[in-house]
Symmetry: C2
């Protein structure tokens, strides 16, 4: 049984926790290192210049050094002639010779043998970089607790400092726990979970300037956890216990932290991430991280990094926030602040946020996301078209140069995206919402391109009927894509002996979502064969991509599903072809000359794509 002791607001939890920790924390240890290796590190004490910069009066021009007093009467009408005792030829950077105090540019001098004629007076110290102009000996160049930037490295070296006392990196110990975990590199058996959270968290912590130790996986026993915690705390400045994904596991964490120190808060009103445990042990922060990877990543960013900045007194790098318009209604609980992964498209001068998978376990969706939209605690969610703040996960520049493809799924989109990355200055961002979803996205200006394969049940014609219906003003162009073979995917060896659509009555089916071209094709085929949807066991079970359907069949979760040959091949399934369909790209005509869209079309027609599709099989390209 598990209970969430609390449901604290994020800001309350974080600020309270920081205030709770602050009086206990000890300063980090310090070390002395060369300034040239100190960029990004944090000064342990104020640094004062040892020498001035410049440390001598330096000529700032090529020309002659003079005594300004000797030139005071010079003018166009009464030039002054300096003899060779009264000037010295100098170059930029030379020291101003003893007893001289000004420099005259070479262009302003007329030489007569050894004498120099001047037609204007010089002011004292003109064209001279005076001693200490940049840095005065003794000046505080940097205060303590200051992160050294590259220019600070330059300034310290200019001030004659070559070593600097800095704080050692914050050492964080990561303790993964759970009987189901196996280390990376081992082949997982059913029930095993690859322990990758620690590596993901370490990467973030290293980016934040920490030193990280990952401990061996601790099994689910209070004693083992207790020992691991004590070791982690003794050897580090902070410890993270990754609690495993089982419900109730965080209570173990709670118990061992309470026993050896104190728990400040257990349960935060965020989603994903709510079962976090915030505690202290041996005057060091100890945080219980939820085991679902997206929860772990969010707790790290929202709690762990700000707590580490307490030790360094340097705030974590600011998030880059942009405003975007959400593409569909999102219902969110009033009790939680939700962190929603989104794809971003830049269409008609505005950013559109397309929601992605919301599960706490979906780490790939975090890896592929362009940003994270924050839905506040007191909101029931977002309506389609609402403005929302999005924290960027990719550079904005990349998002602004990405062609946004929303609609039917095909693995060829990933291949086109890969070729564009390698061969062009543009990127591809795709979201899989089915063919009809693509048409809707195009209508609402939430996509540049909608891939569709929509069969007119009446005529058997692909795509054009739908285009004409939804864009009666003929404002779109249908760019022909590929012919691809759809078929029934079944387990290797076809154990149920499926030969045609009629046999689908004898098997558990796995369907695609409403509005997808593949589902429309199924409905067409069922109608052709006089079969009712009610006769298909599993008709209600929906997946969003061909590969997801293939994966379910390979795992035995379903006996058959409609999909493309490439997906069947990926999972080594048998494939019974049932139709050749036309997978095309619907584009608003006015955006055809957008260079990102042009690059997409060029890539679609490229030899390289052709080669890749031939390797995958099941595609037929049009004549070019």
């Amino acid at each position: 049984m598990h209970t969430y002791l609390e449901n604290r607001q994020l800001s309350d939890a974080l600020n309270g926790y920081k205030a709770f920790l602050a009086p206990m924390l000890k300063p980090l240890e310090t070390e002395i290192i060369p300034v040239s290796a100190a960029s990004g590190r944090i000064t342990a004490c104020a640094v004062h210049a040892k020498i001035s910069s410049p440390h001598f009066n330096a000529c700032a021009m090529d020309g002659i050094a003079v005594r300004a007093a000797d030139t005071f009467n010079a003018s166009e009408l009464s030039p002054v002639m300096l003899n060779q005792e009264q000037y010295r030829v100098v170059d930029t950077g030379d020291p101003v010779p003893e007893s001289f105090d000004a420099v005259i540019m070479i262009e302003d001098i007329i030489f007569h043998g050894d004498c120099a004629e001047l037609r204007a007076a010089a002011c004292a110290w003109q064209h001279v970089r005076q001693i200490g102009e940049d840095i005065c000996q003794g000046d505080m160049i940097l205060p303590s607790y200051t992160k050294l930037t590259p220019s600070a490295v330059g300034a310290l070296l200019a001030g004659g400092i070559i070593q600097v006392e800095i704080f050692k990196r914050v050492r964080v110990g990561i303790i993964p726990t759970g009987d189901e975990l196996i280390p990376i590199g081992q082949s997982p058996k059913s029930g095993d979970i690859i322990e990758f959270n620690s590596h993901m968290l370490r990467a973030s912590l290293i980016e934040a300037g920490c030193e990280v130790a990952i401990y061996d996986i601790t099994r689910d026993s209070l004693e083992a956890l207790n020992n691991a915690l004590l070791r982690g705390v003794a050897e580090n400045d902070a410890a993270l216990l990754i609690a495993g994904s089982s419900a109730g596991r965080d209570d173990y964490t709670n118990s061992v932290i309470s026993k050896n120190g104190a728990v400040f808060c257990h349960g935060i009103a965020i989603r994903p991430g709510k079962p976090a445990v915030l505690g202290v042990c041996g005057n060091k922060p100890v945080i219980g991280i939820p085991g679902y990877p997206v929860s772990a990543a969010i707790v790290l960013e929202q709690i762990v990094l700000p707590v580490i900045s307490l030790l360094t007194k340097n705030p974590p790098p600011a998030a880059h926030i942009v405003n975007a318009v959400i593409s569909r209604k999102i219902v969110s609980g009033l009790k939680y602040m939700e962190f929603l992964r989104v794809k971003l498209g830049y269409i008609r001068d505005r950013l559109v946020a397309i929601p992605m998978a919301r599960g706490a376990g979906a780490i790939a969706s975090l890896a592929k996301a362009d940003g994270v939209a924050v839905i506040p605690c007191d909101s029931e969610g977002l309506d389609s078209g609402d403005e929302v703040e999005v924290e960027l996960l990719r550079p904005l520049d990349e998002i602004l140069h990405s062609v946004t493809v929303v609609g039917s799924h095909d693995p060829m989109l990933d291949i086109i995206g890969d070729i564009m990355r390698r061969k062009s200055d543009y990127y591809l961002s795709s979201a899989h919402v089915g063919s009809m979803g693509g048409i809707m996205a195009l209508l609402r200006d939430e996509a540049h391109i909608a891939p569709i394969h929509l069969l007119d049940l009446a005529t058997g014609v692909y795509n054009t009927t739908y285009e004409e219906k939804h864009f009666p003003g003929k404002e779109t162009t249908l760019v022909k894509g590929v012919k691809r073979t759809q078929g029934i995917m079944v387990q290797k060896g076809n154990p149920k002996g499926i030969m045609s659509v009629s046999d689908l009555k004898n098997v558990t089916y796995i369907n695609r979502q409403k509005g997808s071209g593949t589902r429309i094709l199924l409905d067409f085929l069922l109608k052709q064969n006089g079969i009712s949807a009610d006769d298909i066991d599993g008709y209600q079970n929906e997946e969003y991509t061909h590969t997801a359907v293939a994966a379910k069949i390979a795992a035995g979760n379903a006996g058959a599903g409609l999909g493309i040959y490439a997906a069947a091949k990926m999972f080594d399934l048998d494939f019974i072809p049932v139709a050749d369909e036309e997978y095309d790209f619907l584009i608003k005509t006015e955006t055809l000359d957008n260079p990102m869209v042009q690059t997409f079309i060029e890539t679609l027609r490229s030899e390289e794509l052709k080669t890749e599709l031939e390797k995958m099989g099941g595609y037929e390209l049009y004549e070019r």
Copy 2:
């Protein structure tokens, strides 16, 4: 003689150079490394999942696994009783046992001995994380040329990938050139310049993910430069020649690049940074970097990093841009885009940008700047109060938590700032514009606190007269600071035998800027002694801080100057006391309860500051 061949607009120069380079560049070499060490690196090819994630059907709740079909008739009125063959007890994360297809939460079950009573039907696959829910085997997790984020590390490991092919880091060779240069760590003689540019540039390049080799300083000969260039190009993917600060030196760079390759552009319409040389040699980018350190830093950011992103196909991290109001008029050339270093203050809900030193040699001003304001090419400059875009150099959070102190200079401000960094959550940002400048800043809401020491020439009273005059509505509070001793600073041993203000007629004086309290004090003392400003040689020569005045005297640029004891001590000067003055802090009464201002005042009253001021000498604190 030097000539700037061109004055190309920055965007033209950069885009043209990139287009010029693109067809020549070869792809970077690749290597295979563990995924767990690959965060921040760039994929060399697309990465496909080896296993699905989850790779088995996993229970998402603690409870029992059932066959959904066995439960279809269950309801509140007619519960269904499952026998022990019909269910299995499962925990979250367990595999769903063979032939079962749904999980029922433990809370929803009533056990009767071995039998389980259900009062609701289960849908197929409820509370099950189905195989491939996150990642399907064969799916492209990342395309090529993609920077691995921590969550991408997680996703690859979840997909069974433990090694990944990435591009090697871009290798950049830095070649410092110039006869006047000495390596860091050597004691500079007059005319020597410490070669720190290479270390500053290396720090920026490492931050951008490059591997950097710094070569020995190359002396000013075409042959040496030629050899260094050929070696730098042979051993790296790109080479930077730092051209030294002498005018005309960049022509050497120009010549050797032309001889061994081609120069695309020489001279960019930016300030600082204009004499950059953009070229190619051996199909690799070669860039001539100006020798003034601020120019070097700006050319690195504006040209070198974008060119390196051509090789990695990943844009440099986006600058964080904020809007601010400029605090004073800035005249800027129409022919150049200017990068102006600024301090930022957050006062009354708006950001104020206070311009700093503009010289290309002032690296400390770049190190201390909060941001860089960009004044476009076709602008004659900015008027006080104009809005300007500022690229942040410090985290915004730090700027928003900084108390902004604008006015008279005293080294104690640096000490207060250092104590605040160590002991509080707030920061101090100071700009030195003299006492009157501070009053003006306070009037225009461009500062929280104005340090002043303004003597009423008529009454001999400090500060209050000025406060009453400029804030007749009594909206300010004068927080008493310190009494400090002003005196005449002269070279060690007092060679000119200065005993009092009257003796200033016999020496070259170095003055403070108009509006500074120290200058007003001088004028008062001169008047008292019946001396005219015209009788003081050097009265027109101005410096902005006590330490800058002391540095000039120590170097012999001037024979005497007025300043505080601490500055004289820093430069080992003799000090003839002439007045005790009151250095106080003027604050708008309404901001007294601002926690940053409170922290400043608390620090002013702290034991720690008292100890530091006693060490420096020349200060007297008020009774507390």
